[in-house]
C-alpha cells in the first residue's frame, strides 16, 4: 500500500472531428477540471502532459505546451509518452510527485487531434522501428491485430460475430447518454452486420474510430484535499504501469512475431492480465469488489478479452458474461459506462485520462443518466504499443 491521492477535478473537451489543434482541446479540458476542483491554475504546483506525436515537435513536450497556453506560472513540469498508455502514465507521474511530497496539486492533461483513417507510423525510412516495419513489410494495421484476436476467440471459445456486435450495441447505448462522446446514437446489431468488413471477422462498427478530444484531472495529496474542504474525495489507490514478462507469447502490437517459449517457460498469465493484477495487488482490492470498469474497446472482441483479463469471469467466458447482461448498465459489473472508445474514438494521449474522468463522475454519483447506483470502486485498463499497459484503480 503506497497511499491514496485525491481526484479534486475532472474535465473534458467533447470528442469528435473538430479540425482544431490539440492545445485547444487540452486547455479547455484543463480549465474544466480546474473549475470542477474549485482551484485556480496558479494554485497548481505541477503539470504533467500526456504527449501526442501528432502536431509536430511541440507535441513531444505536451506539459509545457499546455502550461504555456494556460499562462506560464512557474509550475514543475513533465511530459509523458507511452503510446495508448500515455494518459495513465501521466497520472502515475502526478501520483508519484504527490506521494513523495514534491507537489500538493498536480494538473494532468492529455489531448490530440487525430488524423482520419488508420493510425500509421512517423514518416521516413525507419528500418529499426518495429512499428514502421509491420506496415512496410506486412501492411499490418492496428485492425489487423484486432482481427487476429477476434478470429482466435472464435476458434478457441466459440465467440461469434453476433457476440462482438452486441458489445457495440451496449456501448453505443451508453455513449448516447454521454454528452462528451463523439457518437451519441444507439446502434443495432443489424447496423453492425451491415457495415463493411475491415479486418475479417471485424467490421467498421466493431472497430473504434479516430477522434479529436481532450481530458484532464486535478489531483492532490489527501492532506491538501482536507485543507481544501474535500473531506471525502474520489481517491486513486493504485496505478499499474507494468511491462510484459519474457516470453510474451501473445502477438502484440506492433510486433511481427512473439517471443519464443523455447528457452524459458511462458508466464502463468498474459501481459493484459498482469496489468490488472498489479493494480489489484497494489490496492488490496479484487475483481469481486469492482462497481465498474473502463477498458480499451479498440475492437468489440477486445472488450470481451478484457473481461477475462480483469478477472470479471473465467477464460473464454467473456461472451457469456456479456450475454447475461452483467456488463451493461444495471448489470453486476458495468463495463464502459462512458460508452467506451466505441463512442469516443481514439484521441491517444487523452483516452486513459478520460477513463479516470468517468470513474470520478461515477464514484461521485455525478454521471447523470448513465449513473451506476452506489458505485464505490472502479478500474480502468489500457494497452499501448511497445509493451506499455496501465490500469488505474479508484475508490470512494
Amino acid at each position: 500500500m503506497t497511499g491514496d491521492v485525491a481526484v479534486l477535478g475532472a474535465g473534458m473537451h467533447p470528442w469528435g472531428k473538430w479540425g482544431r489543434g490539440f492545445v485547444e482541446y487540452g486547455t479547455a479540458a484543463a480549465r474544466a477540471a480546474l473549475a470542477d476542483a474549485g482551484l485556480e491554475w496558479r494554485d497548481v504546483g505541477s503539470i504533467v502532459g500526456a504527449d501526442t506525436v501528432r502536431g509536430g515537435y511541440p507535441g513531444y513536450v505536451a506539459g509545457a505546451t499546455f502550461a504555456k497556453a494556460l499562462g506560464w506560472q512557474g509550475a514543475r513540469v513533465a511530459s509523458v509518452y507511452a503510446a495508448c498508455a500515455s494518459g495513465a502514465q501521466a497520472v502515475n507521474t502526478a501520483r508519484a510527485q504527490l506521494l513523495s511530497g514534491l507537489a500538493d496539486v498536480v494538473l494532468v492533461v492529455g489531448a490530440d487531434a487525430a488524423p482520419k483513417g488508420f493510425f500509421r507510423p512517423a514518416g521516413g525510412e525507419r528500418h529499426d522501428d518495429p512499428d514502421w516495419l509491420r506496415f512496410r513489410v506486412l501492411g499490418a494495421t492496428n485492425p489487423t491485430y484486432f482481427g487476429l484476436y477476434a478470429r482466435r476467440r472464435m476458434a478457441l471459445y466459440g465467440d461469434t460475430p453476433e457476440d462482438f456486435a452486441q458489445v457495440k450495441v451496449k456501448n453505443a447505448a451508453l455513449g448516447a447518454l454521454n454528452p462528451y462522446a463523439r457518437y451519441r446514437k444507439r446502434v443495432s446489431a443489424e447496423e453492425v452486420a451491415a457495415s463493411a468488413v475491415v479486418a475479417d471477422p471485424l467490421r467498421l462498427l466493431d472497430i473504434c474510430a479516430t477522434s479529436d478530444g481532450g481530458a484532464a484531472l486535478v489531483l492532490s495529496s489527501m492532506e491538501f484535499a482536507r485543507r481544501h474542504g474535500a473531506a471525502d474525495p474520489v481517491r486513486i489507490r493504485a496505478v499499474s504501469t507494468v511491462t510484459p514478462r519474457y516470453p510474451n507469447t501473445v502477438l502484440d502490437l506492433p510486433d511481427i512475431a512473439t517471443d519464443s517459449a523455447a528457452g524459458a517457460p511462458p508466464p502463468d498469465e498474459t501481459f493484459r492480465a498482469s496489468i490488472a493484477r498489479a493494480a489489484y495487488e497494489e490496492a488490496g482490492i479484487g475483481p469481486e469488489d469492482l462497481s465498474l470498469a473502463e477498458v480499451y474497446d479498440l475492437s468489440t472482441a477486445l472488450e470481451l478479452q478484457w473481461y477475462e483479463d480483469l478477472g470479471l469471469c473465467g477464460e473464454g467466458e467473456g461472451a457469456k458474461l456479456l450475454r447475461e447482461g452483467a456488463t451493461a448498465l444495471g448489470g453486476r459489473i458495468p463495463v464502459n459506462a462512458s460508452g467506451g472508445l466505441a463512442s469516443f474514438g481514439e484521441a491517444v494521449p487523452a483516452q486513459a485520462i478520460a477513463q479516470v474522468c468517468e470513474l470520478t463522475w461515477q464514484l461521485r454519483g455525478d454521471a447523470g443518466d448513465r449513473q451506476i447506483a452506489g458505485a464505490r470502486v472502479g478500474l480502468t485498463a489500457n494497452q499501448g504499443l511497445f509493451g506499455h499497459g496501465s490500469a488505474v484503480l479508484a475508490v470512494r
Binding site: 506496415f135 512496410r136 513489410v137 499490418a140 494495421t141 502477438l251 511481427i256 519464443s260 528457452g263 524459458a264
Partner: protein, 141 residues
C-alpha cells in the same frame, strides 16, 4: 530493408532467426545483440533457419488499403490479402506474414498446416522487394 530475415529459393526457402547458445531462445526478427531472456546468463546468438511448416494461430485480412509506408499502386483497385499468424512448434514462436496471393480467409482455419514460401512484396521498374508468404500445406504452387 529486412536484411537476413530469410534465405533460399523454392523448397529451400527459410525464414532466418537467431538462437541463443545458452538458453536456446529463438528470435525473429533476428536479435544480434544480446539474448532477451532475463533469466539467461547470455550466450552467443547464432543464425538458424526456422521451421518450414507451422500451424495457423489466427488469421484475418486487409479489406482497406493500408497507409504508407506500405507500398501499393493507388491507380489500381485494392485487392485484399490475407494475413496469417503461424505457430512454429519447434521454436515455440508465432510469426505473422501475408498469405500467398489468391488465398482468402475462406480458405483458412485455425490449426491448419501452412508452409513458408518466397513471395513478392512489391516491385517497380528497378527493384523487386521479396518477402515471405504463408501457403496452406495442401496447396501446391
Amino acid at each position: 530493408m529486412v536484411t537476413d530475415w530469410f534465405t533460399g529459393d523454392g523448397d529451400g526457402f527459410r525464414l532466418l532467426g537467431t538462437r541463443c547458445s545458452a538458453c536456446v531462445s529463438v528470435f525473429f526478427p533476428r536479435e544480434d545483440g544480446h539474448c532477451r531472456n532475463p533469466a539467461c546468463p547470455g550466450g552467443e546468438l547464432e543464425e538458424v533457419p526456422l521451421s518450414r511448416r507451422g500451424r495457423v494461430w489466427s488469421y484475418t485480412d486487409s479489406r482497406y488499403r493500408p497507409p504508407s509506408p506500405y507500398v501499393s499502386d493507388p491507380e489500381l483497385p485494392w485487392e485484399p490479402y490475407a494475413l496469417i499468424a503461424v505457430e512454429l512448434e519447434a521454436e515455440r514462436i508465432v510469426v505473422l506474414g501475408q498469405a500467398v496471393p489468391g488465398i482468402t480467409v475462406a480458405d483458412l482455419a485455425v490449426g491448419m498446416e501452412v508452409e513458408v514460401v518466397p513471395g513478392v512484396l512489391d516491385e517497380d521498374t528497378e527493384t523487386t522487394w521479396t518477402t515471405w508468404h504463408w501457403r496452406p500445406a495442401e496447396v501446391t504452387a
